[in-house]
């Protein structure tokens, strides 16, 4: 009995889920001709990557309220590399995020003794500070509040529809990549350490877990992934960045999407971003104005009060997939 149970722990199927997402995303791309839907889904994929990065940090108990720091630094670094050094956007997109990775490391190092609200507030504070740094001392480089235009990932010469599809597929592929990364991490030995740290740092430490290294690792990785999302977003969808990216809103999205989908579950951020964003766009369209935002807020409140474990657990329960482990994770 116990040995069989032990064997079951490792069996989390991530590759099939990744394949399924690719297939489903491809099918949608092949069938849907509506440009706007593709655009919304591209946004969903990019922000699912961003939410996943937040999810990675959250898995280690580091609930950041200032993840826009990493999103924004990734975007700025990549756009500057592409703009000033002439690096291809496809390369800059992966080199630039080394900056937010470094920022993640530095912030995690400074915040080692902080947790919960203390950690959240300090990470939030860093976003405000980084914004001023970008505007003031580095204003010459960043063009201050005017912002910078971002080089397109898929260069002109192609039809707009083709570029839209390419952007969509790039975002899809990277989202699946970030999913695999997060899923593999959470199921790995390090993932177990991060979960232990999430639950109780002191007990984790006296069980032999190097809390410091793992916390730093999680935030560095999270910073990098968030940076890639920021870079991808600016080279595909917005094509322009400004210090406004270091605002409150962009720090809230990953938290909102991840919790709605399922906290500390690799599928959570993806499902959450998809459902919340699509509902959001629909509500804005169907109702318009302030009323739509009130309805969205109420819907989110209902989601969290009725399914505090998130939509993934709800869906998995409905489909009969959820073991006790899943329910525990989301708590």
């Amino acid at each position: 009995m116990s040995r069989a149970a032990a064997a079951r722990v490792r069996r989390r199927r991530t590759l099939p889920v990744a394949l399924a997402m690719l297939v489903a995303g491809g099918v949608v791309a092949a069938l849907v001709r509506e440009q706007f839907v593709l655009q919304v889904l591209t946004y969903v994929f990019i922000f699912a990557i961003y939410a996943q990065s937040w999810n990675i940090a959250a898995h280690s108990g580091q609930f950041s309220l200032g993840h826009a720091t990493f999103l924004g630094l990734g975007a700025y670094a990549s756009v500057l590399l592409a703009g000033r050094l002439g690096l291809p956007a496809a390369v800059a997109m992966f080199v630039g995020p080394l900056l937010p990775a470094l920022a993640g490391l530095a912030i995690a190092r400074l915040c080692l003794r902080l947790r919960e609200w203390y950690f959240g507030m300090v990470t939030f504070g860093f976003t405000a500070i980084v914004q001023v740094l970008v505007v003031e001392p580095f204003g010459g480089l960043t063009n201050r509040w005017d912002g910078l235009d971002a080089a397109p990932l898929w260069a002109g010469g192609r039809a707009i529809e083709t570029i839209a599809i390419l952007n969509y597929l790039t975002a899809l592929a990277l989202m699946v990549g970030s999913y695999l990364l997060a899923a593999r991490l959470m199921n790995s030995k390090s993932g177990l350490a991060l979960a232990a740290i999430h639950d109780n740092e002191v007990v984790a430490a006296v069980s032999g877990v190097n809390v410091r290294t793992h916390r730093l690792m999680a935030m560095t990785l999270s910073g990098y992934v968030a940076g890639v999302a920021g870079a991808l977003n600016s080279h595909t969808l917005t094509r322009h960045i400004s210090p406004g990216i270091f605002g409150i809103e962009d720090s809230i999205w990953p938290l909102l999407y991840t919790i709605a989908g399922g906290l500390r579950i690799p599928e959570g951020p993806i499902l959450g971003t998809l459902v919340v964003r699509v509902f959001w766009e629909w509500a804005l369209r169907a109702l318009g104005g302030f009323e739509s935002l009130v309805v969205i807020g109420l819907a989110l409140a209902v989601i969290v009060t009725t399914f505090p474990q998130g939509l993934y657990v709800l869906a998995a329960r409905a489909a009969g997939w959820a073991g006790p482990r899943l329910a525990r994770r989301a708590r």
Binding site: S2, A6, A193, A196, N200, A205, V206, S207, G208
Partner: protein, 249 residues
């Protein structure tokens, strides 16, 4: 030969001197009891030995290694493990995974697969095999203590610090616990146990260290300690004063 040696260990919180020059040794294979009234500094001592607190003065050596300023995980990997007065399981992990953390990151540093296997064996050892996939919330307080014990053992402990794992047990449960201690000893584990229950201390421990206000006031066999006038005074004295000064756990 001594496995653990504490020399002049001092630790204070704000103005409160929780430990004031504590000195004692634990030999390999021994079961040593650590007793004292509330606020005597027992839990602080356990925290200091395991690296959760850093002492201001003094030195702690384990198995010849100086561990005074080591990080908790380094001390654990050398072979020191502990349980907590109030069980603190990893509440989002299953019972099995709780133990796996110890096996995977403790002295043995096992791979996940091996950790799962060994953790399952340890759960069998402490009698929780059938709860392996439960969540810790579903466990009783006694089961939680056993879970803590399994996690601590999993980290490859040669020295086990047990912080009041017997409080609130029925006589029958106490008997089971005592039997478990004997089996632990049979595995070659050295034990330093903080305990309020004199009954079990007297029955199990070979040697007893008594703390009061952060100082060691007595040390010796159960019989010697029980007869020590200082100890009697300390115990009767604090009963009246009540346990107002609890050191942080």
């Amino acid at each position: 030969m001594s496995l653990l040696r504490c020399e002049a260990v001092a630790k204070s919180f704000g103005g409160l001197q929780a430990l004031a020059g504590v000195q004692f040794e634990v030999g390999a294979g021994e079961i040593v009891g650590l007793i004292g009234p509330n606020g005597a500094g027992k839990s602080t001592l356990v925290n200091t030995i395991t690296g959760v607190h850093r002492p201001e003065h003094g030195s702690i050596t384990f198995d010849g290694h100086e561990v005074t300023r080591l990080a908790p995980e380094r001390i654990t990997r050398l072979g020191v493990a502990r349980t907590f007065q109030i069980p603190q399981p990893f509440h989002t992990l299953s019972v099995l995974e709780n133990v796996m953390v110890g096996v995977a990151f403790g002295a043995r540093g096992a791979s996940l697969e091996r950790a799962a296997r060994e953790a399952a064996e340890l759960l069998e050892f402490v009698g929780l095999a059938d709860k392996a996939h439960h969540e810790p919330q579903a466990l009783t307080i006694i089961e939680l203590r056993r879970l803590e014990l399994a996690r601590a053992l999993g980290s490859g402990a040669r020295l086990l610090l047990l912080d009041e794992i017997h409080a609130g047990l029925t006589p029958k449960e106490l008997e089971e616990a005592r039997e478990l201690l004997q089996r632990l000893r049979a595995r070659g584990v050295t034990i330093l146990m903080v305990e309020h229950l004199m009954q079990i201390i007297m029955a199990v421990c070979e040697r007893i260290v008594v703390l009061e206000f952060g100082r060691k006031i007595a040390e010796g066999t159960p019989a010697e300690v029980a007869a020590d006038p200082e100890v009697i005074r300390a115990y009767l004295g604090t009963r009246r004063a009540g346990g107002a000064r609890a050191a942080g756990a």
